[in-house]
Amino acid sequence: MGAYFQNIKNGFKSAFEGMSISFATMFVRKETVQYPEVNISTNKTIAEKYKGTLMGMPANSRGILDVNLSLCTACQICQKACPIDCIVIDNVKCDKTKLEDEVGNPVLNRFTQKEALKTRTVTRFDINAAKCMYCGLCAMACPTTAIRHTNRFEMNTESQEALILKFVSEEEKARAEKKANDIEAEAAAKKAKAAKEEKVKEKGAEE
């Protein structure tokens, strides 16, 4: 009998307390972020329109990958580090500082990496953003911080093809390949010339 009334008492008591809590919640800050209207990319921008207690994205947030090709040395470490093969890099043997546009100006004019690493130029740098799982292993592995995560996270497209991030355009690729061919041809010519000279020398020696 005691338990019977205890049940009733506890029932009312706990319901009373519970109702006071849910009523109290009506007077605290609303946490909903009205996303497209509120810019959540940093803490400052989120604070402009939003009154709740959630944070914007921090600086090291892992968003869509970005590649700074002027830093990239085509070492392919990121490609090897990626556990799901969403990065693919092709390269040609060509010093990219020597690349010139149609007018003849150098395409790149600022370099930070060592001389020895400039010998290769990327002709294809594709990232499959649809497959990328934003684990950050590529960015951690990169020796020159060429590949890194941005704060960007919106990427609505109509097709899966559009989700492939191509960092080297077709003309850049063609240019690099042409230059590489030129360099190769030059080198071959030089070699042939050297060989010829050698031959000539040899002949001369024979004679």
């Binding site: 019977y4 049940n7 009733i8 319901a15 009373f16 307390e17 519970g18 109702m19 006071s20 809590i21 849910s22 009523f23 109290a24 919640t25 009506m26 007077f27 605290v28 800050r29 609303k30 946490e31 909903t32 009205q34 940093t42 803490n43 400052k44 604070a47 709740g52 207690t53 959630l54 944070m55 914007g56 994205m57 921090p58 600086a59």
Partner: protein, 389 residues
């Protein structure tokens, strides 16, 4: 209404018919609108109780959300599952609708604003709302879905069980007022809180609580929403419904909420009673009534977003072991109390005022708890830091 039509030169019989049609349309539209708006109200309040915003896009503060939802539901394909009992499946939602909308006949909108003040008003009210259980059971059975069937069975068991405590709870006000008519019960109360039926004696308080819990169960509201318990039965009896039929189920559910609030207000909370000087202002009476109904609806919504749900055996225990004995005791107690204080109206008034003061005391306790809880929730978190962008 009839008088107005006659005064503009219509014959009495056409005037009666036209006025009836007009009243029907007005009340029906009022119910549909109320049901619709209540869906928005519920979602909005639940949002606030969870530190969210709730729907706020369609119209100012999202108040037209229900229209958008309704249009969307009406435009949806009307699916009838394979193997369903097509006739029963098609007709089931309308039983729910009739069960709820039938109550508008005796719905006391205010003092004297009532379509038909039947002398068996309360009895009619309870009987017609029992139609809802047919609709739910038919929906559950005809859907050809085992979850729906369990939901329908639960609903039948639950509503049938809870009819009894609700009826017993209503006996106490009937005992006091000596009538079954809505108008009569309202007239037996005054406009001051201690003249309301609920504060008349300790027994009326008990019977009010029992009636309130019982009508929660009849309206299938949490903690008694077992027929559609979404975490157990997916969506219970309306799992297979889409489109307009689903909309009808929902409309009747929220209209039922309003009906339940109206009944509670009329029987226990003094209805649309006004102080003597203001008695002629019918609009004011309707407003007072609606204000009280909104409070009840708010409490019901509030309960839903606070409490977990019972299990079916606990639900039955609650009805048969707690509510029913309580209702009997309240009924007997009230009868004895009335017999003892028959010639001592002063004692009755003093007891009523004491009951009201107890209520005020509980309310103050409650407000103190709310303040404490607000303070706890406002402990700062994530305060701005300088070196995070």
């Amino acid at each position: 209404m009839e008088a107005i039509l006659i005064s503009i030169g219509l014959e009495p019989i056409p005037a009666k018919i036209i006025s009836m049609v007009i009243i029907c349309v007005v009340v029906l539209l009022a119910f549909v609108t109320i049901g619709g708006v209540l869906t928005w109200v519920e979602r909005r309040i639940s949002g606030f109780m969870q530190a969210r915003l709730g729907p706020n896009r369609v119209g100012p503060q999202g108040v037209l959300q229900w229209v958008a939802d309704g249009v969307k539901l009406i435009l949806k394909e009307d699916l009838i599952p394979d193997g369903a009992d097509r006739k029963l499946f098609a007709i089931a939602p309308y039983f729910c609708l009739i069960g709820v909308f039938g109550t508008m006949v005796v719905f006391p909108w205010g003092k004297g604003v009532i379509v038909a003040d039947l002398n068996v008003g309360l009895f009619y009210f309870i009987s017609i709302t029992a139609l809802v259980v047919f609709g739910v059971l038919m929906a559950g059975w005809s859907s050809n879905n085992k979850w729906s069937l369990i939901g329908g069975m639960r609903a039948a068991a639950q509503i049938v069980s809870y009819e009894i405590p609700v009826g017993m709870g209503l006996l106490v006000p009937i005992l006091i007022s000596g009538t079954l008519s809505m108008g009569g019960i309202m007239a037996a109360q005054g406009w001051l809180p201690w003249d309301w039926m609920v504060f008349k004696s300790p027994f009326t308080v008990v019977s009010f609580i029992i009636f309130f819990i019982g009508s929660l169960a009849e309206a299938n509201r949490t903690p008694f929403d077992l027929p559609e318990a979404e975490s157990e039965l997916v969506s219970g009896y309306c799992t297979e419904y889409t489109g307009f039929r689903y909309a009808v189920f929902f409309l009747s559910e929220w209209a039922n909420l309003f009906v339940m609030g109206g009944l509670t207000t009329a029987v226990f909370l003094g209805g649309g009673n006004l102080p003597g000087v203001l008695e002629d202002y019918t609009i004011l009476s309707i407003l007072v009534f609606l204000a009280k109904v909104s409070v009840i609806i708010f409490v019901v919504i509030w309960l839903r977003w606070t409490l977990p749900r019972f299990r079916i055996d606990q639900l039955m225990d609650m009805s048969w072991k707690y509510l029913l004995p309580g209702a009997f005791i309240a009924f007997l107690g009230q009868a004895i109390y009335m017999l003892l204080t028959q010639h001592l109206p002063i004692v009755q008034s003093v007891v009523a005022v004491i009951m009201f003061l107890v209520f005020v005391f509980v309310l103050i306790r409650f407000i103190i708890r709310v303040r404490v809880n607000i303070r706890e929730q406002r402990i700062p978190v994530n305060s701005p830091a300088s070196d995070v962008l």
